[in-house]
């Protein structure tokens, strides 16, 4: 059991090392200069280019997921039967519209951004609550 799990770990580690090495050959669609610009603005400091590429690839994966979700919405809209006979047949060309994008981003907005701000809001909410309690009572026991 132990030896097989050890071998499994070794395979995983070597796969990860190979992946990081292959990142140097693979050119992500989002260029390194752009990613470095955003990283430096956010306080992300790392001299290793592989991590920059990893961030670029993660962003590329995220955007392609959002775009494919929007594509599904677009195809669903086109596949829907035409109600009016006078209406022109829908364009077979797939165009990224604000409607499809907003539908796709609505899911992401719930998941990504709000989760980060949720924690900040709860922290400040608790802080304000404690301050309000302190005003009402003279002695507040806060167990840390």
């Amino acid at each position: 059991m132990n030896s097989s799990s050890g071998e499994g770990r070794h395979d995983d580690d070597s796969a990860l090392a190979e992946f990081l090495a292959s990142l140097m050959d693979y050119t992500p669609t989002i260029p390194d200069e752009l990613v470095e610009h955003y990283l430096s603005r956010s306080g992300f400091h790392c001299p290793d280019l592989r991590l920059t590429r990893l961030v670029a690839v993660a962003a590329q994966k995220f955007i392609s997921e959002v775009a494919s979700d929007a594509l599904q919405h677009c195809k669903a809209r086109q596949a829907a039967p035409v109600k009016d006979k006078s209406k022109q047949p829908k364009d077979k060309r797939l165009v990224l519209t604000m409607e499809d994008l907003s539908k796709a981003l609505r899911e992401v907005r719930k998941l990504t951004v709000s989760s980060i701000y949720f924690f900040e809001v709860t922290f400040f909410g608790i802080l304000i609550y404690c301050l309000l309690i302190e005003k009402k009572k003279k002695f507040v026991m806060i167990k840390v």
Partner: protein, 240 residues
């Protein structure tokens, strides 16, 4: 194909007018996102939709980078490493869910987020950016610190790892203190190093800008005198 032709037109229109620096990043991200949409299967995109998606891409990178930097800082590091980045990616994909999220003893290097990323890289064809991008001049990295130049900071509370103070401030302080030529030589060396690093970045007019920092070592009267002296000098330079 529509999107590449449209972007070429956009670039030609935008090149002649002077733009703020972040507009270049927005334009580049727009092109990159358009290429990603092409691979996904889109034939064209509305300009507003493309702009918003590229903005989202930039924000995603910033959120990821910020959380990775804060995780590294929590562990007492200034440089981000792979584990911090994986933790940040897991944090971002927690609401959506990933395999093994419920296990608190999970290994970060064997994270399913990384595995999905590896599978994505294997499946997607490589699409490089169409044009080479001029790298922004390394402004921040070129300013040498006190320790790098082997100098001691002029004020005791200033740490040695900070970049050197501007040459004009050093000069004004030396003039006010009335020091000898020894320090001026060091100042020349510093100014030469700073000028080499900045390399035509600052126009010649900027040399006249003086940073008046009150040295609160003496009494109020001395501080006022220093202030007056600084103002007189500025007036003299304006006269010149």
């Amino acid at each position: 194909m529509e999107p590449p032709a449209k972007h070429e037109e956009e670039e030609e229109e935008e090149e002649p007018s002077p733009r703020p620096p972040f507009a270049a990043a927005a334009a580049i991200s727009r092109i990159a996102v358009a290429q990603i949409c092409l691979t996904v299967g889109y034939a064209a995109a509305e300009p507003a939709a493309l702009r918003s998606l590229s903005d989202v891409a930039g924000r995603y990178i910033q959120i990821l980078a910020r959380s990775a930097a804060s995780i590294a800082a929590v562990h007492g590091r200034t440089d981000v490493n792979l584990l911090d980045l994986v933790r940040a990616m897991e944090e971002l994909s927690l609401p959506r869910g990933f395999a093994g999220a419920s296990d608190p003893t999970r290994s970060l290097l064997r994270s399913s987020v990384l595995r999905e990323l590896m599978a994505f890289v294997r499946s997607v064809h490589e699409i490089p950016f169409p044009r080479p991008i001029r790298r922004e001049s390394v402004r921040a990295r070129a300013s040498p610190s006190f320790a790098q130049l082997g100098r001691e900071p002029p004020l005791r509370h200033v740490p040695r790892w900070l970049p050197c103070f501007p040459e004009s401030w050093e000069r004004s302080r030396r003039e006010e203190e009335g020091c000898g030529e020894g320090r001026e030589r060091e100042g020349d060396r510093v100014s030469a190093a700073v000028k080499l690093s900045e390399e035509g970045f600052l126009p010649a007019e900027w040399e006249r800008v003086r940073f008046r920092l009150a040295c609160y070592g003496g009494s109020d009267g001395e501080g006022k005198k220093k202030g007056e002296h600084g103002v007189e000098e500025r007036e003299e330079r304006k006269g010149k």
